[in-house]
Amino acid sequence: MRNLISFIYRNHFFFLFLLLEVSCFVLIIQSRSYQSTSLLNSANSVSGNLYAAVSNGREYLLLKDANLKLADENARLRNQLKSSYDILPQKVFTINDTLYRKKYVYTQGKVINSTTNRRSNYITLNIGSDQGVEKDNAVINTDGVIGWVKDVSPNFSTAYSILHKDPKVPCKVKKDGSYGGLIWDGGDYRYATVIDIPTHVRLIKGDTIVTSALSDIFPEGVMVGFVESFERKQGDAFLTLKIKLNADFKKLNYVYVVKNNSKLEQDSLELIITKEEEKKNK
């Protein structure tokens, strides 16, 4: 016995080695059996947390990629949504009438982009030349005048809002028909100015301003707004009206695009006058 102990003591290094190797093999065998779970596995608190931290870190590096994938997927899913399909606004129809000639064609559209805070504001509509929209068509809604079409593409069109620095909307006082012109001098989107109203018109606050027949763009009598205040500026022969626009430009949604069927004829006729005037001036 003493010999054995002294033998082990002399070779303790080797026996320790054997002991460690045996325990290693016990671990290996244990980890290979299906019945028992391995004592050492990457789900323990140290390695598990380390792997979790690393994967958190890796996620940050891959965020761009992940974002791109999610955006792609979102776009794909959104494409399948019902709301991404428009009902085609094919509501144009013609009537053959021998007494009345159809002058205005209304097409229903939707505002998909609009601004109110710039000096010259624009609107984008979801209908275009395929739906019959043409340049210089009027844009109105149930509340009143909105603008007129600037450019068209097959399925979209852009329009000048009447909140624009170039005035193009002839209008009149509804109750007596005196002509004026609508301009917008920037600032508040709820108010506009009507100039050139004759001084003899007896106005009160709240009088209605509508579009006049002088326009080859807008139908006559479309609501513009109500008189808020009026004044006669120094040395001016006309009244300047501050009006409250009836249409809420912050809530534009469905609009009508109005096409004037006789615009071309009227324009070409008026062009002759313009040319003659030019000749005279020369």
């Binding site: 080695f17 460690l20 290693c24 671990l27 244990q30 980890s31 391995s38 050492l40 380390l50």
Partner: protein
């Protein structure tokens, strides 16, 4: 002495993290598996008691097993490597023996000595590890090829690391 212990503990941690977080993601193919964490065992000072070497190897192996889900395969290979290290050091000791200022690096011991030392120990470790991984001799030659290729890869890696991190230690003889 304390500083040496701390240095070795730091090396243990750094090499383990490097192995687990970085090296295991390096794609070199299945015939060149990099296991440079064994550098820890190679770099233990000459005067380290051999029992400490054995236990340190065992703990290192267990750490790797915990991360790689390999049961005790790394531990078994590391313990054998730690055990062999003592004998290999005796076998290839310089004529005048090891002295206290010497460290088992290329810079101190020379290219030939370090290459012999490292290659033998790395091969022992890798040989045991890859056969344990297969757990049998059914794929004897392909496993041998893997062990040889990985030994070479690990050795090259360790050799480069030596030049990267221990250049300033060089003493003029």
């Amino acid at each position: 002495m304390i500083i040496d212990v701390l240095k070795n503990i730091a090396r243990f941690l750094i090499l383990s993290l490097l192995q687990v977080l970085v090296i295991s993601h390096v794609p070199l193919g299945s015939h060149f598996v990099l296991l440079p964490y064994v550098l820890f065992i190679l770099m233990l000072p000459f005067e380290t008691p051999k029992i400490i070497v054995l236990f340190a190897s065992f703990v290192l192996g267990l750490t790797m097993d915990a991360f790689y889900d390999t049961g005790g395969m790394h531990a078994a290979a590391c313990v054998l490597m730690g055990f062999s290290r003592t004998h290999i050091l005796k076998l290839i000791s310089p004529r005048e023996g090891y002295d206290n200022v010497m460290k088992p690096t290329v810079q101190y011991m020379g290219k030939t000595w370090f290459s012999t030392y490292a290659l033998i120990l790395i091969f022992i470790h890798h040989f045991v590890f890859f056969y344990l991984e297969v757990f049998g001799f059914s794929e004897f030659f392909s496993t041998l090829l893997r062990a040889l290729g990985s030994t070479l890869a690990t050795f090259v890696f360790i050799y480069i690391v030596q030049f990267l991190f221990y250049r300033n230690d060089k003493i003029s003889i």
